[in-house]
Amino acid sequence: MTAAQSTLTVHQLRRPRWMVPAILTVVAIAIAIISYLLNPSVTEAVLGATIRFAVPLILGALCGIYCERAGIVNIGIEGQMLMAAFTAYMTNSWTGSLPLALLVGALTGALLGLFLAYISVALKLNQTIGGTVINILAVGITGFFYQVNTVTKGKFAPIPLGPLADIPLIGPVLFNNPPITYLTFLLVIITQIVFFHTRWGLRTRAVGEHPRAADTLGINVFKTRYVSTMIGGALAGLGGAFLTLEGVGLFERNMTNGRGFIALAVMIFGKWNPIGSMLAALLFGFTNAIQTQLQFMGINVPHQFIGMIPYALTIIVVSGFVGRSRPPAAEGTPYEKE
């Protein structure tokens, strides 16, 4: 076999990237329409809950994408979200300004991102430990400073998008949401464009795949990693702020409840790709919503089993449909200049 022939066959082996997500999406839409015809109110409730579950996961996964595409492993997303949820909540309580609270949440995440970048880039320490430090720090600090009787004036309210909000099913589910939800979907699209269609994205991906190559072309590996990790942190911060400013409306101890870690799974499931991760997060959110609905309906199965559905489904989908996904090659290794 000549070299040319073998190249050809490898090409043929590559499935188009959009195929699996596209099939899943079509199937999901078909199911939604059928179930809407059978029972409109339950369908609306389930899909609405899907989005609410998915938003913080999407933001967490976007954080992971920004960090890992630049070569930094971030397992501190959970801590970044929790800390941001707390600072956003306290800002809301003190100032009563929701936009300001949102900004503080994002900044909190970005600062923790800076901390992780400093540990990984400047100190060249183990990134997993860096992330773990953030997680432990967040639980400790928020637990210590949180006062149970804090009150706020409220949370972000849904903004119906004019006539779009009146379309049956789609309207209430997609076009009647509070601002962070809209922002999240916008950020997915922006991130997709930034990473795959701009100079910054190309360079950042190169830094995450082969930092030495990027360096030989005059790209500043260290700066790229700082910037990307901080942007990611800000997005995780938005995810945390979503919980206290839009989702729950209150702060509770350890309220992120593993979302930061699930976000990592979502990112891997989505193959380090923003739109893929969004679809993965929606699937996660959907199984969560279904699980809640099944418990409401009083189906005679122990709730622990129903609670497993999202995780079981993830394993099935990941192993069966997505195939092996490959992380950025330089992920987790500090870059040393010669």
Binding site: T198, G218, E338
Partner: protein
């Protein structure tokens, strides 16, 4: 006149660079004229690559100056070098494997349309360059799917895309087949014709004489000579390079083959797509002879080697060592029955680069006495053996605790050879044993293989270098498309005959 024709495009003056423990460059002064191919010849570790990395801004020199077109110039990082029109193709390619060709070439010098990448314009520009210089490449292919020769073209295109005037090629032919090398030389010719000046780093003498306009020889960090390729022979160059009289021809007696020590019967290997890549291959190697397997790279040699050394399962056939049938895909069983393996890719299959030499020396035997007893390592025995092997096999290293990855290629290969051949072996399988090595190391490894042959070991050498095959083997089997097309006696065959067989024609 500032730009008189005699002004060199690049000049270095008294460049000195030390690394902890070594003086890599000692007052190196070279110059490069416009449109010439300057060959920088020297053994591994002579300081050629260090010098080029300094010119490209990857290392800072301790002292010394540069001049570009006669003007003093400071190069602090690759960015400055690129701005000055200097491009470098590194020995280990600096390509992002998962990126497309277009993405790799434009990286760092992106073609944009507003905030967005303009891939179609970049593609057009790349195709124009590729047509102009004869660098055929599919711009949308993913780099990791491409053969090395094509990846190298991508690297050259990357430099051209940045409008280089000076191109540094670091050991460009080390990974190429003879055909690819010829193509590369044609490309280099096209480049110099259009005014690009090339620094060609190598240790291959034939190539230097073929392509260079001028030769500068380096040894131990210093320039030791400059010559005109028309006035020297390979032998002169080798002596200058190594610093002593080198024997390019392997001295050997006629082989005295005895019993069959090693036998492969009807071996079949299929690839991932279930295509047959090793097609019913059978051969025998007797004690005291060297069987060579020749062929253009990619005709199943790699898969054959992997299958017979236990690195992959085969899909049919048998492997016998000294009358015992070997189990499939079981390297330890093979090793314990007396197989030594010098692998094609020494970084991937020969050494654990992050481990010190001590551990690398006992990779095949760490679990046995005296290196370990009752599951506990005996560090002293391991160190003693390592020091002895370092001495016996002339591994140049500061100590036995140095990481294998920190040695030069030639010394890494010596570590492997030392580990593999210091055991009691019955059969040696050497796959591309001298690829990327300098003259001195090649001479050493060839001698060692011949010595083993004379001691009654069955030696199998797989190589795509015809010179090597013809120099050290007794019989030559030629592989083409997974099959052995013919086996000839080394003493009576010719390059022409082998060339025809390698192209698949049977007589």
């Amino acid at each position: 006149m500032e730009y008189s024709p005699v002004t060199p495009v690049l000049e270095t003056k008294d460049i000195t660079k030390t690394f902890p423990g070594t003086l890599a460059n000692n007052k190196v002064s070279i110059h490069l004229n416009k449109g010439e191919v300057l060959a920088l010849l020297g053994e591994n570790g002579a300081g050629k690559t260090t010098l080029m990395n300094i010119i490209y801004g990857l290392y800072d020199a301790d002292s010394g100056e540069f001049k570009l077109n006669g003007q003093p110039y400071k190069i602090r990082n690759p960015h400055d070098a690129i701005a000055a029109g200097i491009g470098m193709v590194h020995q280990h390619f600096m390509l992002v494997p998962v990126f497309s060709v277009v993405e790799n070439i434009m990286l760092g010098a992106e073609v944009v349309n507003g905030p967005f990448l303009d891939k179609s314009r970049a593609r057009e520009e790349i195709m124009a360059l590729s047509d102009r210089y004869g660098l055929a490449v599919d711009p949308d292919a993913i780099v990791e799917d491409l053969p090395v020769g094509v990846q190298q073209r991508v690297e050259i295109l990357k430099a051209l895309f940045r409008d280089v005037k000076i191109l540094i090629l670091d050991e460009p032919t080390a990974v190429l087949t003879p055909q690819e090398t010829n193509e590369l030389f044609q490309i280099m010719h096209n480049l110099t014709e259009s005014g690009v000046s090339i620094v060609f780093i190598t240790h291959k003498l034939k190539e230097v004489l073929e392509i260079a306009d001028r030769i500068v020889i380096m040894r131990r960090g210093e320039v030791v000579g400059e010559t005109d390729p028309k006035q020297v022979t390979e032998h002169d160059l080798a002596n200058l390079m190594v610093g002593r009289d080198v024997n390019l021809v392997v001295d050997k007696e006629t082989a005295q083959p005895k019993d069959i020590k090693y036998e492969v019967k009807d071996l079949v290997v299929k690839d991932l797509l279930k295509g047959v890549v090793v097609d019913h291959v059978s051969f025998q190697v007797r004690a005291g002879e060297v069987l060579g397997i020749a062929g253009v790279q990619g005709n199943g040699q790699t898969e054959l080697a992997e299958a017979i050394t236990g690195l992959r399962k085969h899909d049919g056939g048998e492997v016998w060592i000294d009358g015992i049938l070997m189990p499939q895909a079981n390297p330890r069983a093979l090793v314990e029955h007396g197989m030594a393996h010098i692998p094609e890719d020494r970084h991937k299959h020969g050494l654990i680069l992050q481990y010190p030499l001590t551990d690398n020396f006992v990779l095949c035997s760490y679990y046995k006495e005296p290196y370990s007893s009752h599951g506990v390592r005996n560090e002293k025995a391991i160190l003693d053996t390592s020091n002895e092997l370092i001495k016996r096999f002339d591994v140049r290293t500061p100590s036995a605790f140095v990481q294998a990855g920190d040695l030069s290629g030639g010394n890494q290969q010596k570590v492997i050879v030392a580990r593999e051949l210091s055991r009691e072996v019955k059969v040696v399988i050497a796959n591309q044993p001298t690829r990327g090595l300098d003259v001195g190391s090649i001479e050493y490894i060839h001698k060692t293989l011949i010595r083993l042959r004379d001691e009654g070991v069955a030696v199998l050498v797989i190589s795509s270098e015809l010179d090597e095959i013809m120099a050290i083997t007794d019989r030559i089997a030629v592989m083409y498309r997974g099959m052995i097309v013919d086996t000839v006696a080394a003493a009576s065959t010719t390059r022409e005959e082998l060339g025809l067989l390698m192209a698949g024609s049977k007589h």
